[in-house]
Amino acid sequence: MLVDARKIEQSTVSTHLCIIGAGAAGITIARQFNHSPVDVLLLESGGFEPDLATQDLYRGRAFGHFRSGEHIIGTAFPGGLTDRMDYPQASRSRYFGGSLNVWGGYCRPLDAIDFEAREWVPNSGWPISAASLAAFYSRAAAELHIAAFQEQELEREPEPRRELALPGSPPSFATKMFYFSPATPFGSWRRNELVRSPNIRIVLGGNCTELLVDETGRRLREIQVRCLDGRSFLVRAAVFILAAGGIETPRLLLASNRGCPRGVGNDRDLVGRYFMEHPHLPVGEYLLWADPLDLTLYTQLHNPVLGHATSGVLCSSADFQRERQTLNYSVELVLVPGTVAAMAAARAARTDAFSQSYIRAAHEFDAAFPQPGRDRVARAHGQLFARTEQAPDPESRVKLGTERDALGVPRIELHWRMGALDHRSIYESTLELGRVLCRCHRGRVRLRLQREQAEEVEFGAHHIGTTRMSDDPGRGVVDADCRVHGIDNLYVAGSSVFPTAGWANPTLTILALALRLADRLKARQPWTAGGG
């Protein structure tokens, strides 16, 4: 069922389950309740298409290690990203489907080590293990129309996609695969199913502006919803899920400070802290003395076995991270033009679907970057582009600013910090890759980094850690079930609950946690509307 918030006449709307935010997490949870006895209200600020006035509600101020990220943001957002101050609104998308409307489809689970409490990473450790999330990762993959990840993932790549075998005992680097979801733009994929649902109300154009607790302070009674045309109403529910993203979720908690002076769920001053991104940066160049075909595994190509595109990246191993006390790290082998053309030529005689898709990609690549004469260099070379983990830092945070948006909600100030461990990890991991290639005579790496260099980096538009998960209310905003500590009926879904970020794009983990939360709530009995 589809409802325009501006046409709601009642002053109070009641439901069983109110989900605030129709992005990756919110839509996924709502779907789990489709055709169930539970009445679901899925509240979305925007409509089915982007509009500037709604997107402007995201505007804020940003400080820190930002660098223009045109290759990520590009034309996907109005105005693009020309200044770091644009980050709060340009790195997000405020309409049905959320920021997955401009998603590249990147899927990858976190590594087991990402869940561990690592003594060299302050504030690390999840209250749940990788193993406990495995079944949810498989279900999340199905939701995104990709194959489930398996231990021997490289065996499912067709010839000639071979791993660049790097020596070491234990090895310090290994290849891992990205799977690319065809479920983009995400909102469009799920829209019709939810619109036809008998028990799910999608309310568009309604902005949650405040969370209101009852007199005990331990229960959320209702939320205030406001529209840009001035209309407003309350939503009462038995259970609320805040699924508004890693910046907006802490903003709403902090701004809801009438019943709770420090904000809802913020007795310990943790809401908004530990903000993490995935630093993206060119770390050097590589030169491989190898058949260029060896690199097809590292190019995004359709995998006919799996039915979707895949691409490999080189990743530092858990053994290396433990030994050198570094954070998790991955690096893409970005090819230079000419190499791709040579690879395509080598495959030209093949007519199978894999080769044909590869050749098409190669031609497109070379057409985009013409460099006459480059193909005489008959070896693989190009740029090393890292996508890395950063350590959780309480001073890297989302705060409320003094300016207010059109609905009267304080805009955010985002202070993104990168620390010494972040920089050392990037440097030492890249250095190790160079050493390994040199030792096995497979190639060389040229560092672009200076030791401990604090440079501006690009980002993944991933907003992580601001309502972190911990069993201890003194160390986290939500518990292992994603329930806000101290508030009985308020849950958070999304990457803001991640205590650490790994290097992998967060979408698959967001969906896995959303499915896990939905399972727990479905077991809840009985459901009564409006706080029963």
């Binding site: 050097g284 160049e285 030169l287 003395w289 970005v334 230079v336 033009p337 970057f369 070896r379 070379h381 190009g382 740029q383 250095l431 160079g434 050493r435 290639l437 040199c438 030792r439 005579h441 190639g443 060389r444 790496v445 040229r446 560092l447 672009r448």
Partner: protein, 96 residues
């Protein structure tokens, strides 16, 4: 994404080393360098003579017998070969 930014000479040396993949990399360097220097591009880095190379090796030594030479992560043996070639030539020719 070009690899021809400053220090292209080292890239050519590196190419040479990798092509050689042999113990006699020094000789291979000399042969290859002569061939490369006759080409109009890519250019070589000017001014990296033997003394400069040896200073780089001495000052930018990394652990595990690796050094960072003009950004490239190479073994000390390889780096010393480069210095030897530079000594043979007197200085690095600039083909650009």
């Amino acid at each position: 994404m070009s690899t021809d930014r400053g220090g292209g000479g080292m890239w050519i040396f590196l190419t040479t080393m990798l092509q050689a993949e042999a113990r006699s990399v020094g000789q291979a360097c000399l042969t290859r360098l002569t061939w490369q220097s006759a080409e109009p591009s890519p250019r070589l880095t000017a001014g990296l003579d033997a003394a400069s190379l040896e200073a780089l090796i001495r000052d930018d030594r990394d652990e595990d017998a690796f050094v960072i030479l003009d950004g490239w992560i190479v073994s000390r043996t390889e780096a010393e070969c480069w210095a030897m070639v530079a000594r043979e030539l007197g200085s690095m020719p600039d083909a650009g």
